[in-house]
């Protein structure tokens, strides 16, 4: 067990100190002065280094194991991205420097906007949003503002029940009511069903393509037609863009607004939960509404435009998560158009290969083909009270991170697998071998092993119920 920071030996001299070359007394009036202890530990660098290094080793990470976490696109994070981002010219610039001294940063952002337009068939991009959900929120605000501008009262958003939880949460935050659409067993949307709930109050329909079951929305052109005929807009959740780069463009399918997760498709590492970046793309009729400031190019000079009277405004301070934006741009420049196409081709090939090795053995609600990910429903194989959670934990014992589980919600005991394009055939094969061993062999012969998993991790199965019932959310004072 790794001690907590406040349990490490306290030293007289802490790891960091600061010395001032200016000696003047600063008097803080008593009533403004801090009187409670700061409660900070005092630890040597040696002990801190060991502490954090030892903790890092308790993580399964992409750099150490296969991470088939569905919907999260855990692809290799190229090292060159990190190297370039560390350069002082990208690290030590202040957002309020004069624009003439930030031309490099603007060139990157402008360049990325343009490449994303080409990739998606949208006309404009805003890079300000800090994550996918933040992008959804911005996109939905754009939709709200658009309808306000044409004086239509549309208060509802249609979202299939297979969608990510962020979709309804973002729509609600943007002031909309949510109509949940029951999707088919493969997660797709039936145009006739959609038609029935499309009223004059519907502002937009949010779709993830391919959807969370890894299926392409084959009726997308018809869906687009009926949505637009109704005067509503179509929103593209780009969480699964890795499946279709250079294959099909959301803009061509009829989507009016979309977001992209740069930390998924464009190789920026996830950092244990962020930072991310969630650019939004729009068709030109929505351009007046996207966040300010906008980067504009006049001849070869980049400037900022804050004067967009119809814009939804600002989604966060400054210019977005520049580091993530830069990593995505480096990635695109590494691959180019051709490389990006091969990314999607390989991602889809890898997923279909894994699926083919499991088909006829495990229930696959979306059928025998998929795009970049697929969802298993192994319920019929379960016995002795074994559940998907147990299978996931058992995979940890074999040194794999577990796939996404219990999502999408419409699949019972779901196991959602996304291999990405950067994994070798050998990795895919051995993973399927192990998963098969657990599902077809251990379940019958050694159910107890699965129930008790994991045993090879630094802690055994943790009690989540207790954690929520009696929350301990910080260390106790020493």
């Amino acid at each position: 067990m790794e001690k907590l920071l406040n349990e490490l030996p306290s030293s007289d001299v802490a790891a960091y100190t600061i010395k001032s070359d200016i000696k003047i007394d600063v008097k803080v009036p008593e009533h403004l002065k801090r009187s409670i202890s700061l409660g900070l530990p005092s630890i040597t660098e040696n002990n801190l280094l060991r502490h954090f290094t030892n903790l890092s080793r308790k993580n399964y990470a992409l750099s150490t194991v296969f991470y088939p976490l569905g919907s999260c696109t855990m692809k290799h994070n190229p090292l060159i991205n990190e190297r370039i981002v560390k350069s002082e010219a990208f690290n030590s610039i202040h957002p309020y420097q004069p624009t003439e001294s930030l031309q490099g940063a603007f060139e990157i952002m402008y360049g990325l906007e343009k490449d994303l337009c080409e990739l998606t068939g949208m006309d404009y991009f805003s890079l300000q949003q800090a994550a996918g959900a933040h992008g959804e929120f911005a996109g939905l605000l754009v939709i709200a503002k658009y309808f306000k501008s044409i004086k239509q009262s549309r208060t509802k958003i249609i979202i299939p029940d297979s969608a990510h939880g962020t979709n309804p949460a973002s729509a609600s935050l943007a002031g909309f009511e949510i109509i949940s659409l029951k999707s088919e067993s493969d997660g797709t949307v039936l145009p006739e069903k959609l038609k029935k709930i499309l009223t004059s109050e519907v502002a937009a329909v949010m779709l993830t393509v391919p959807n969370t079951l890894g299926t392409f929305e084959k009726n997308i052109l018809e869906i687009s037609k009926i949505v637009h005929k109704n005067g509503s807009l179509l929103y593209y959740d780009g969480a699964n863009l890795n499946a279709v780069m250079g294959i099909v463009k959301p803009g061509h399918m009829g989507f009016d607004v979309m977001h992209i997760n740069l930390h998924k498709t464009f190789s920026a590492p996830h950092g244990g939960g962020g930072p991310g970046s969630g650019p939004i793309g729009v068709k030109s009729f929505l351009e007046p509404f996207i966040p300010i400031p906008r980067i504009e190019k006049n001849k070869s000079k980049f400037t900022l435009n804050y004067k967009k009277s119809e814009s939804i405004g600002r989604l966060k301070s400054f210019f977005g998560n520049f580091h993530v934006i830069l990593k995505a741009y480096i990635y695109i420049k590494a691959l180019g158009g051709k490389g990006l196409v091969s990314v999607s081709e390989q991602a889809v090939l890898n997923a279909n290969y894994m699926l083919a090795r499991l088909r006829n053995k495990v229930d696959i609600p979306a059928g025998d083909r998929c795009m970049h990910e697929f969802v298993l429903s192994p319920k019929s194989l379960f016995r002795d009270n074994i559940k998907t959670l147990d299978v996931a934990k058992r995979l940890l014992d074999y040194n794999y991170y577990a796939p996404t589980i219990y999502f999408p919600l419409i699949v019972e005991e779901a196991i959602m697998i996304e291999p990405t394009e950067t994994e070798s055939k050998e990795t895919l094969d051995t993973f399927i071998d192990i998963l098969s061993k657990i599902l077809f062999d251990e379940i019958i012969k050694e159910p107890q092993k699965i129930k008790e998993a994991p045993i090879n991790t630094t802690v055994c199965r943790l009690n989540e119920v207790e954690a929520a019932r009696n929350p301990i959310l910080k260390w106790k004072k020493q």
């Binding site: 790891a15 600061i18 070359d21 005092s42 490099g104 929120f137 949460a169 210019f319 990314v343 802690v459």
Partner: protein, 445 residues
């Protein structure tokens, strides 16, 4: 570059197992009319080419000796911070859904939460939000949920302008109204102006920043009394380093403390990536947005950490979640954790005092220069201060830039009140020599 590891034989074998002849067949459900012919994106650069390509772009950014803050600050970052956040085990992990395989991330977030609670004197911290602006906006949303019958948010006019804009965007389609609290002549928010505003009984929360956008330490204790009396929540927006010296939000009975965590170990990096922090009173923990890590035990009684109170969140509660946030700023929170872990109480206080004394030194010198004077004579400030000048502000900054100095922020556009005003920032990073050089240049303008 190409990050794909299959060779031709692998691909053929895989296609065979799938039972198709070509990769194209895997996309046959996509209407042909929609298929992309060609992607017009140039690239295909080797690693070496990328390095050179971006080095050339980097040349178009200029690095300065900075006397500018206004939300993003040049602070010293100890070597350990980069070492830890650069470790691929932290960098390339996802949100810690599988707790047993993510104890590194989970324990460090727990430690981050503990340190932030300690610093602010409040009870419960989340695992981070996107940045300072969105943290304040989320706090406003939280207060509207808690005070569900009240519709008005009071906001200090001395809150960072981009935070105000972000709150406005977040509340655009909600029921909430915003009332701004005017800045008094001494640069602070007065109890009397809060008193006048809280009279209408509809106030869900009041948002006050200290040090405020103009560097001034507000009398948070006095403001808190007035705000709390009205039943509104008190949202304190604070600079965590200033808490080394100044009263903690817990001491003046704030309900929520939020702010920008960039100062805790993240570089300026053009304003992103940073983190927002949020700490609340115990009674508000179930209303908190974002991830929270809790301590628990495994079946052998061994201590471990998990994501907890998850039924607040979007993946479970969907449209009824406390927030839509999913990805946050975990790596920057790790940087903050490492940053806070090695100062000790004395060192951290010393860090805050050094900011104050260096800023005070610069302030004393600049205000006595010909053509410059203090805008707020008696104000207590942390590391930023406002100077009024008769000189041409554009010219001042042009000359400073020529000398590789990023000068004060021009506040002229803020309002009539700040006409001819500039905002200086002096952190512990500025040496006496740099400050003196800046002052000398100013004296010659």
């Amino acid at each position: 570059m190409n990050y794909i590891s299959q060779n031709q034989k692998d691909k053929c074998d895989m296609l065979k197992v799938i039972g198709v002849n070509s990769v194209n067949e895997l996309f046959d459900m996509i209407p042909n009319s929609l298929k992309v012919k060609k992607l017009n994106i140039y690239g295909e650069k080797t690693e070496q080419e990328l390095l050179n390509y971006f080095a050339n772009i980097a040349l178009k950014n200029k690095i300065f000796v900075s006397f500018r803050g206004a939300g993003i600050y040049d602070h010293y970052i100890p070597s350990l911070v980069d070492e830890v956040i650069g470790r691929s085990e932290f960098l390339t992990a996802y949100t810690p859904y599988q707790a047993e395989a993510s104890q590194g991330t989970l324990q460090t977030i727990f430690e981050y939460q503990s340190l932030i609670c300690s610093l602010t004197g409040l009870d419960v911290s989340n695992a981070s939000l996107y940045d300072g602006a969105t943290a304040v906006a989320e706090a406003a949303l939280l207060s509207l949920k808690v005070n569900s019958k009240k519709n008005t948010i009071l906001i200090s006019q001395a809150l960072h302008p981009e935070y105000i804009q972000t709150i406005r965007t977040y509340l655009e389609n909600s029921r909430a109204k915003i009332i701004m609290l005017d800045i008094s002549l001494d640069g602070s928010i007065k109890e009397s102006s809060v008193e006048a505003a809280v009279n209408n009984n509809d106030i869900a929360a009041a948002i006050i920043q200290s040090p405020n956008y103009f560097g001034i330490i507000e009398n948070m204790q006095a403001l808190s009394c007035v705000i709390k009396k009205s039943g509104a929540l008190f949202i304190a927006v604070v600079n965590p380093i200033s808490l080394g010296v100044f009263q903690a939000p817990g001491e003046y009975n704030a309900d929520i403390a939020v702010g920008e965590g960039q100062v805790l170990g993240s570089p300026m990096s053009f304003g992103g990536t940073t983190l927002g922090f949020m700490v609340v009173k115990k009674s508000l923990e179930w209303k908190m947005p974002g991830r929270i890590v809790g301590q628990t035990t495994d079946k052998n009684g061994k201590r471990g950490f998990v994501l907890t109170l998850q039924s607040r969140e979007q993946h479970i509660r969907r449209e009824r979640a406390t927030s839509n946030i999913c990805t946050n700023a975990s790596l920057n929170a790790l940087a903050a954790c490492v940053f806070l872990s090695g100062w000790g109480n004395h060192g951290f206080k010393n860090l805050a005092e050094t900011n104050m004394s260096k800023a005070k030194y610069a302030f004393n010198k600049i205000k006595s220069l010909n053509g410059f004077k203090a805008k707020f004579k008696d104000a207590v400030f942390f590391n930023e201060f406002v100077i009024e000048t008769k000189k041409n502000i554009k010219m001042i900054n042009k000359i400073l830039l020529k000398n590789s100095i990023l000068g004060p922020l021009d506040l002229s556009g803020t309002s009539e009140f700040f006409k001819n005003c500039i905002l200086f920032c002096v952190t512990e990073q500025r040496t006496k020599c740099e400050i003196d050089r800046c002052i000398k240049i100013l004296s010659e303008i």
